[in-house]
Symmetry: D2
Subunit: 377 residues, 4 copies
Amino acid sequence: MTTNNHTKKIPVGILGATGMVGQKFIELLSNHPWFEIVALAASEKSQGKQYGEAMKWMMDVPLSPHLANMAVQACLPTLPCQIVFSGLDGEVAGEIEEQFAEAGYVVISNARHHRMVSDVPLLIPEVNSEHLELVKWQRFSKGMIVTNPNCSVVGLATALKPLVNQWGIDQVNVVTMQAISGAGYPGVPSYDILDNVIPFISGEEEKIETEPLKILGTLQEKRIEPYAMRISAQCNRVAVMNGHLECVSVKLRNPATSAEIIRAWQTFSGEPQAFHLPTSPSSPILYLFDERHPQPKLHRHLNQGMSVSIGRLRKCPVLDWKFTLLSHNTIRGAAGCAILNAELLIRKGYIKHDIKTWEDDKPDFVSQQEVDEQSFV
Amino acid sequence: MTTNNHTKKIPVGILGATGMVGQKFIELLSNHPWFEIVALAASEKSQGKQYGEAMKWMMDVPLSPHLANMAVQACLPTLPCQIVFSGLDGEVAGEIEEQFAEAGYVVISNARHHRMVSDVPLLIPEVNSEHLELVKWQRFSKGMIVTNPNCSVVGLATALKPLVNQWGIDQVNVVTMQAISGAGYPGVPSYDILDNVIPFISGEEEKIETEPLKILGTLQEKRIEPYAMRISAQCNRVAVMNGHLECVSVKLRNPATSAEIIRAWQTFSGEPQAFHLPTSPSSPILYLFDERHPQPKLHRHLNQGMSVSIGRLRKCPVLDWKFTLLSHNTIRGAAGCAILNAELLIRKGYIKHDIKTWEDDKPDFVSQQEVDEQSFV
Amino acid sequence: MTTNNHTKKIPVGILGATGMVGQKFIELLSNHPWFEIVALAASEKSQGKQYGEAMKWMMDVPLSPHLANMAVQACLPTLPCQIVFSGLDGEVAGEIEEQFAEAGYVVISNARHHRMVSDVPLLIPEVNSEHLELVKWQRFSKGMIVTNPNCSVVGLATALKPLVNQWGIDQVNVVTMQAISGAGYPGVPSYDILDNVIPFISGEEEKIETEPLKILGTLQEKRIEPYAMRISAQCNRVAVMNGHLECVSVKLRNPATSAEIIRAWQTFSGEPQAFHLPTSPSSPILYLFDERHPQPKLHRHLNQGMSVSIGRLRKCPVLDWKFTLLSHNTIRGAAGCAILNAELLIRKGYIKHDIKTWEDDKPDFVSQQEVDEQSFV
Amino acid sequence: MTTNNHTKKIPVGILGATGMVGQKFIELLSNHPWFEIVALAASEKSQGKQYGEAMKWMMDVPLSPHLANMAVQACLPTLPCQIVFSGLDGEVAGEIEEQFAEAGYVVISNARHHRMVSDVPLLIPEVNSEHLELVKWQRFSKGMIVTNPNCSVVGLATALKPLVNQWGIDQVNVVTMQAISGAGYPGVPSYDILDNVIPFISGEEEKIETEPLKILGTLQEKRIEPYAMRISAQCNRVAVMNGHLECVSVKLRNPATSAEIIRAWQTFSGEPQAFHLPTSPSSPILYLFDERHPQPKLHRHLNQGMSVSIGRLRKCPVLDWKFTLLSHNTIRGAAGCAILNAELLIRKGYIKHDIKTWEDDKPDFVSQQEVDEQSFV
């Protein structure tokens, strides 16, 4: 709300600023300790307008007057910053993001276009930060493209990672119940979803069945060797605003006990935690012991939407174990994950800048220890 | 609406008449060609009241003045009829239903209590009508108890039966998204389900993992040999009024093609169809080819809620095949199935009566052929 | 479902057949005793396609294969019928409907364009059937245009009419809670309406404040003298599929008692009832005595959606009386009202035809007497 | 989250701590700069249990381990504090609250029981802080009872106050669309409200038609002279989690322009603002110029739920002006208003304490000036 003195922050731009993901970037970056939004870019029909006039603001937190008055620019690599966050639609993202990368920009993309390209990191900072190294082999001289996974994949791959580490996984079956915010705006007509479930989301099952294999894969000479397991996904749209719920069953390569699995989740941690990155939750995974949890409405905002909540771990008569997970689809599953990617890039020295990022205070997030002590979860 | 001349119909009573299932029995029986409701029985707090005063009517079709004025009786075996439909709660159903059976009544029960008892048929008329024979060995001299499965099981077991017949099944994974009407009334608080999914329904997963094994089992000397397969279930409550949606994957014992499976479903038929029972749909299973189908709101009322709708059959990377099914939980999954059980008992001569049931006209239901010709499904 | 012998029915066409109102026309006319749909017309992008391919069918009742296979035609006055029902959008309805009327067609329109034109009847058959005479002075040699009111106005004007007749009305205050189906398809984005109310519907308040004055006005020499009263409307969109609920308060010109007002509503009847028109409810208004009624989900389908339900009549501390009314917005408030208009035109001899319409059987609707006897309302 | 050093805070207790309002008190007080919760009291069935075990926590913010472990006490005037907040049910509140007041406690009550008692202030701090003086004449030697209004009344009376001040009001018509959280828990069954509106809330209309007259009345010798105007209310329950929306029309005593009314709202301010009380919003009323606003989902959380949002001011054809208002029913309309009452009591010296409250920092709330500059409202 107050007029910040932004002189020491890193300037960033938003591509696709008017869409649902673009707005979420703006909301999450509005008080970011490292980044300052200096450019908003969108498609032709918004260009030249004031941002506040160019879109319908959908976020909970009011848009600042400063950004509302900012003129929307074209998605051309002339933006006054080095880093751009891309919330572009998959159809147009490919070409535009490459233009930016070729022009020397660091493109932090939420779009699906480059995710499975061999030299592009598909990153969840807690899960596979070592994949960042791929950018060294990208064909761009100075720029680079880093992507985050599909909104349903982030929660799933995060939940699977500690199991992969400790026991290995052979098979995964997942059925999703996905929030309407994942379909963008106007997205799902109310006539279709009120008093209903839609058992189909175009292209979603394919992403869930492939992206985790790359994410959980091994960095080898200039490429990722995919993790060898099979995933089967069935995707449904439900009348929930935010938060994707997933019923998962897994077949492990080695035997585990329930207590061991829960402990693996609870103790799971990665570079964002080690570096105390600003957007990093204290625990990437929270295990909830109440058999009715996790629930989208109750738990999507835990740790400001950056933790994956898991519950109901129990034996599966068909595979080995089954459980339910929840992650906030537009925060952990999209804009929040992308911002964490950018923070990691900076902290690991991939992007040059003048500020001492690692001295920033850590936000006050919920740790697994606190969850254990709380009665509500 | 009109005052019927009921003289030729078979008198029936409803146990647990004030609850959600009891009301559904009344709605579905209100214009039944064979049955006439002559007694409404419920727990002590309703007894003596006029039925219209004793409960809050929740059905879409108005309650007839005749039944609204009927006095609610105690659940004692003194009702003026031979057949009683039981919509009693599981907690009290056991004792009451046995009292009635011992007193010579035919108890058609929707309650869970007797479902897994070895000499009680757990019946879906299209699936295992031969199990009816079990009643011969029931300990009751003249009465009997016949049950229908849990509301989520009816759709599942019906969908699995043609596959069991033709290829055999080894493993089933099912994730349900269940309607709020399944929780009775007042049931799920709106505060819990609006903008939410609840990933837990008490006792439901256990029923889904066991009941189908009995239903698909083989009648042997005085008992059912359970079908040998493993089922894993994960149950969720969603903000849908009626209609349980289930994401299913199966491992078959023998190879099948997609076309063969669909054909097995489309041509599936049982005694209710052969006998043209009044409540029988022309096709127990309708296959919908639109990849967005089935949906609760669009398809739960097909064939007046008595058909199971299936769609999205495709290869499963983990098991063999996956698909989505839908059945109306309070009709096909509860009261409608029970009424079909009663019709079958009569038609097969298990209950003596004076009317020529098989000359009744068949209601105008949707056949698979018509579905194939329709654009909406 | 069965192949009807249509030879004796009156052929009709649907303009704007692919939209929500057009689909409702098709649903309601699919088993109509007098009319047979012989032509489906829509905008350019649908022309030439099979109807089943040209739209997404949204109705509860399956589309018949016959209509699904019918080729969509242009909205040009070459359709093989004399009567057309118009579900066209307001923007294009004006010109097209006039072309049809000039070419000799009887246009039964639900569009807003001609409603307030001085020589066009704005008709609710029970309320102002005498206004039909206006068509004599229309400029079209043989054709004519007849309109029905806005979906919120039908229920309101029907409820007000008996009060106007008996006591006169000076002032009306109305706040509506309108269903999403009134916004067409895709209409209201789910992101906007889930867990929300939108307190604005473009153009709606103006219609509610003016259309009833014409409907309740007096036919004079070639025109309608508007009824002299003031109406204030505030319109809201709520998360309801079908059924507009309205909180109304009125100031009467002469004193009335509660019992007198209820009796005026209960005994209200018009030409549709006198003529036993096929789509006519036995009672245009049903009064419900339970203080929690009417409710959209419980009562919108009473009399197949053709009755207006009223409840909660009580003294108003500001005006004189207040009450709540409900009417089904796409049936009584749109397509059903239009069809009743067409039936009235035929029965009163405005359209020549060869069939004896008045000998048809009356459908079995709920009368106020039956409502009084039922406990559920 | 952190273990606070509470030594300097004022100890308070919560009566009815397990209910919805009690939980909201706990949530809002959990980081309060002046108050520290030292006692949780509830009905017999919760007594002795740990608070975390005694109820189902419904709030968004996790319950702190400290409070979860606190033992629930009886509602007896032996609690170790001077101030108690009462979220008791209306049925039991009367007797218990009087016991506490007689024992010398300051009872800040949200219950309806004492609201209309002549010597009890019915307080909205911005609207009628001068009524606090009533407590001087209360029969309790040392204790006192102060109440806040019904959840629908707080928003209405706040919106009316500037109009009363400047022009006077003769008549008010209000139709509410109220959130389900107002019905407590379990409250409204989902079966009743999904795809529905319930046009009745027991006792609500009476409160709305009477409480504002006292609130807007004039303090005279030991009593309040009610404001002389007539209010008519119609109340509806809608499928919204939080936030009561109200369509209001008013007849003023003197002419006003639209600009003047908006300015009166925007500049409205009271003692909470003058004193910078911790829970006070910078502006009690925010005027939103977008004709689609206010909406529950978008605006209920403005100023942390403590501002009333108003929009759509326009001429009313029946009375003079009409508009739509929104206030958060469990914050501004209940627990938040009560806490503000307590803060005012302390700041004005009605309660003795040792801390310098008025030097506390002001939270960062949205002012009308900021709203004017923002595009989203």
